[in-house]
Symmetry: C2
Subunit: 164 residues, 2 copies
């Protein structure tokens, strides 16, 4: 055991993977509370946010973006559609697919949730001080690495076979 430093109240298990996991649980809980009044939860707010930032994404892109299984994304879209927050438009590049777009009502809901979210983000950013940018940078790096690991992982035995 090398760095047994922490141990204040929270056994951190001291490895990057757990660190992100723990930080994200806290983040999600916080955001859940912050946007609750809008009727969205943290995950949904995230999805509304990408949709608001792009103008139409295919379900599979959404799935890749948020590292979620296709079925989960499928039910998200169903739910959002039922709410009238999202609309499906044909995907000119692929007939099996379609694009998901936020409707006006969807944008409104997103804005509404944003009203709860922004103060929280501001507070965290403020507390982070000048490190905020650095933090963003590092998380991006980590994310890229994780995406890389996802490809090279065994998963369910993809293409190659002669590695032994």
């Amino acid at each position: 055991m090398g760095t047994e430093s922490g141990s204040d109240l929270s056994p951190s298990l001291g490895n990057v993977l757990f660190d992100v996991w723990l930080a994200a649980r806290a983040t999600t809980a916080l955001v859940d509370d912050a946007v609750r009044a809008s009727g969205l939860n943290a995950d949904e707010f995230a999805v509304y946010s990408v949709l608001a930032a792009t103008d139409g994404m295919a379900p599979s892109d959404l799935a890749r973006w948020m590292s979620a299984p296709a079925t989960t994304v499928s039910s998200y879209i169903g739910r959002f559609t039922r709410r009238g927050h999202v609309r499906r438009v044909p995907n000119p590049e692929d007939g099996r697919s379609y694009l998901v777009q936020l409707t006006e009502a969807g944008r409104a809901a997103h804005l509404d949730a944003g009203r709860g979210f922004l103060p929280l983000l501001d507070e965290v950013t403020r507390r982070l001080g000048p490190d905020a940018d650095e933090m963003h940078e590092r998380l991006a790096v980590l994310h890229r690495i994780l995406a890389g690991a996802a490809d090279s992982s065994p998963e369910a035995g993809p293409p190659s076979e002669g590695h032994a």
Copy 2:
């Protein structure tokens, strides 16, 4: 619009909160795959890991640690107990509570899952290179800030009342 940099394939929405969320989704997906064969999922593996590191935690501590509602932790414990992986021992400090301990079988399951997890962790750590420690440090800081924000947040209107 200031920093519209990213945009390779992944609209990052460029703020710390989304960054962690995204990184964590990727992490969870990866770990889920890595430990699947052991019968655990990423979240469960994390819980087994703290339990293995401490020798007994109260449900409420567990809940605080992983930022989960009490009911969720409650059903975790029920599930783990049913698997024979966990045992409840009386909490000498509080009669309303108890301590959750990993049984031998629980430890075995954790080790088993670890066999899938460690290669992944190694790979990520290796790719992170010398930045790994720094990363850990920063995530710890962020986590601390988030924990702080959780207290000072409105939540459901805790103590004070005369603010309007």
